[in-house]
Amino acid sequence: MNSRTIVAALFLGTCLATPLAAQDNMDKLTSMQRTDATFTTIAQDDERAAALKEILPHLKVPDGFAVSLYAVVPDARSMAVAPQGTVTFVGTRKDKVWSVVDRDRNRVADEVKDFAPSVTFDLPNGPCFSPDGFLYIAERNRVLVFPAAEFFFEGPDPAVGVVVEKGKLIPAEEESFNHTARVCRVGPDGKLYISLGQPHNIPPVDKHEMYAETGIGGIIRMKNDGTEREVFTRGIRNSVGHDFNPANGDLWFTDNQVDGMGDDLPPGELNRQTKAGQHFGFPWVNGAVEIPDYKDVPRPEGVEFIAPAAEMQAHAADLGMRFYTGKSFPEKYHGGIFSAQHGSWNRTTPVGARVMFTPVDAEGNAGAPEVFAEGWLDSETGEYRGRPMDIAFLPDGSMLVSDDFAGAIWRIARQAE
């Protein structure tokens, strides 16, 4: 959507909205009216921040790196760093999107407040930016766009447009809470790519065809005005992280595998998609592991299941991921993938709560994943100190790690020489 379309859409909104009673503030906002919304601000220097800093000595990063507390951000989930790098927008699985502001560029947030408090958000997990500064937010069952969000975030009533109307992302009766954390990215083609987790451990057999048509258990793409929607990726269980390889445009994504098959099955997945419409096997398989419930269900005809590009430890819950495009990390990390492991929830011995690195070579193939940062899991007690959820990078090439358990964003940077 270019700015002219937005203005036209806003103008149209004005004509349409005026005679209607306001259901929520969307009517007012799309017609550029003010609301009486006020900000919620999160203190950055209280006991909470002090408690978070006490976690730092437990965190382990490679030699030559240092980890610090970037911001106190309750329920911090997927992140989108704005083009200028002044503001990082952070989704939650609650009702807030946070603006995390670093005006003085000292790499510690100066201010954390809720973005667009006038909008009634519903599980706004997934923010993403277009290169020209439009912020998209994928909610449980709606997609919104905020033009020039990096500048309009200062006021409580930013301009907003609707990309996918409420109830049109998935059928309302398929809404759940758990496998419903959407992630979005703007692809090299300028389209929006949004993951839709399927709301079961294993989907009921009588639903799998409807899910396949809707793109539930997949990644859908659409133009940035919501038109030309199609299912781009098929055969996923619940992906909560995807990103494009800037070198060749391949789409990579993590997936969370079936529970209830034991502590070490099936392995976690990092997948690589090279063509539209590829199928990654679920619910028939998770990688090389067959799902017993679908043993006798006919597989889609003429479809080859794509095997994972790399396997991760079972149940470690690989979520947010991003290619490294910065320069400040050593050469070995350039062009590779950093991904966050949220940590297991019912494995006998908990695993995960780490940041992983997977190299990607010049042909676009994955190497062996390795641990980059860990220590959020207390291995003695099995308790979490924090749970990494997503990875983002500031313009200086340093890494942000969101943590929805501790309620923090950690920063990992090359240590000053």
Binding site: R93, R140, E175, N178, N201, G260, S344, W345, D404
Partner: protein, 191 residues
Amino acid sequence: MRRVLLLALGGLMLAGGAMADVTGNREAGRKLAGQCRTCHGLDGKAQMPIAPHIGGESEEYLRTQLAAFRDGTREHEMMTIVAKNLTDQQIADLAAWFGGHKPTATLKADPAGAPEQCVACHGPDGIRVIDEAPNLAGETNIYIDTQLKAFRSGARKNDIMGPVAAEMTDEEIRAVADWYAAVGIEIEMVE
């Protein structure tokens, strides 16, 4: 309202009947709770937004829900797996452990503003009035919202909540969810 309470009583007797002869053991429940704590905390105070607070629910409610997850009448990506292999005794033990903690709600708003269709069972502050109802104090609004919509669509079944939710719009559901989510909750762990 009398009809609602009668229905509630009926539900209570039915649900209670299934496991009425099993007595929960709190010590055994505490050990079993190791598999619950990543999401619900050992004291039953939720560790993540998707999980409800279960510390200090009635044993009756906890038993009914675990049994419903086990037999598939209530479905959830995670709970369905966890509950699948629980015995009646284990369900009773878990209910005894989590049901024995003490929740305290702090309502900052004027109780007169409480959602009138909810207070008879859930109280203005979200501490239950009848044992078949869960506490709602301090739950994440999206959790309450999700449950009400599931009752409305029939995905989660309950003789009382089905008809109540059927009458509610999305906006009314969210307003109710916001009311109870705004209540402060403390849970005292009782060993």
